[in-house]
Amino acid sequence: MQKILCANNISKSYGDKEVLKDINLTLDEGELVCLLGVSGVGKTTLFNILSGLMKPDSGEVLLKKSYSNDERRKEDIDKEYDTESFEDDFLDITGVSGHISYMLQKDLLLPHKIVIDNAALPLVISGMSKKEARDKAASYFERFGLSGTEKKYPVQLSGGMRQRVALLRTYLCGNSVALLDEPFSALDTLTRASVHEWYLKVMEEIKLSTLFITHDIDEAILISDRICILKGQPAGITDEIVIDEPKPRGQDFVLSDKFLEYKRRIKLML
């Protein structure tokens, strides 16, 4: 497998409070990695850094060059960062946003835009015409279980629906790496299972690599290739566990001893 995203020795503090220390993390192409950790440990902070929205105090975030977004922007960055880049085929995106699709912890739907325009926002931002963007976004509504909500305003949607709109919006950002901060937390078990299934399929189709955060250990074991445990104060990646089980993983796996064994190990690590 090929590395697509590397975070090297990331440290970050808020004022005097050290939150992250010497985080090393890699993501392979097509891999689904889960970040597990108790509330307040620094998961969202790490995501903000990986997405380039925040600058770490030290350390760097590298993205495989061929997977970076926007050509023009890429050239600009090459000029600026080339001498600092350690590996030739990696681009230093530390503190540079726009290369990675990011679904934030809150759904952050814009209250003044109807649902379809919310979903199509990344397309419009990237320069597509409003009509074209709407058409493209509309073609996904059924698969996301959002049919009929196109013309509604976000306040008229349930929490689970809002989350699916946010997921669709993130998907339409169209980058090869996605960071999802608790993407399925507001979904009921049945909807969640179907969204999982859909997401795994999409990942394979478009060779998407995903790093996601969850508080649900069962969910982590069910869909991840690998689970990273973020722990401590300041937090580091204390453990990594590879879930060695072919996908899709069904009900049999959930009820198997193997599943329970994974669960037991993770609980001990947390």
């Binding site: 929205l53 946003s97 814009l110 003044h112 990344p122």
Partner: protein, 263 residues
Amino acid sequence: MSKKYSDNKNKKYMDIVVPCIVLVAVLVIWQLACTFSLVPSYMLPSPVRVVKAFINDFDLLMQHAKTTLTEAVLGMVLGVLLGFVSAALMDAFKVVRQGLYPLLVLTQTIPPVAIAPLLILWFSYGIAPKVVLVVLVSYFPIAIGLLEGFESVDCDLIFLLKSMNASRWQIFWHVKFPSALGEFFSGLKIAASYSIVGAVIAEWLGGFNGLGVYMTRVKKSMSYDKMFAVIFFVSAISLILMAVIKLIQKKAMPYKYIRKQDE
């Protein structure tokens, strides 16, 4: 849910009925006080006389109102434009904000009545000094309302747009401006009442036309009934202006007025 909804409706109904009862009661007491000569009739005309004065002078009042409204609306439009531009600049450049904001607050401590004579000296007796005064009084609530709106935007929303590689302009257009609309309209409502008052004050101090000019004339002839008529008329105009703004707001921000249960 439906119980809460009908309660809500009931409350809204009461919100209208109670003040109406109070208003009618005040008018009745007033009328009775005049009929039984509890107060000298030349000092406090009865409501009926006020209404009669209004009807008699209706054409004249409308003509003056046209001038006052022109000044108020023109001044407000200019105030909105100026307020918008300066709020956007203050939001975009920290230096502008640091330099301009204290100055803005300082100018607000100067009462408009105090500068109106100066404006008349500068711009003479036409419509210009009135418009300038209205611009001055309506500018502040709009600039501050918009600035606060721009700054109250959830910074995660800005993060989201940045993660989509949005430009500063796109962030402004898709997030900041729409989020500030609520504050903008609150500021606009305040500006509307200020601007009518501002125009009338400027007219008091000199001019040929306008409700303020009418006021000074009827004061000189000691027609108390006409004075009362024009006072109520001015407040009615302010109320109507605010209602119009509310209507525009409803059109501009439909999402603010939908409830979840509506389909």
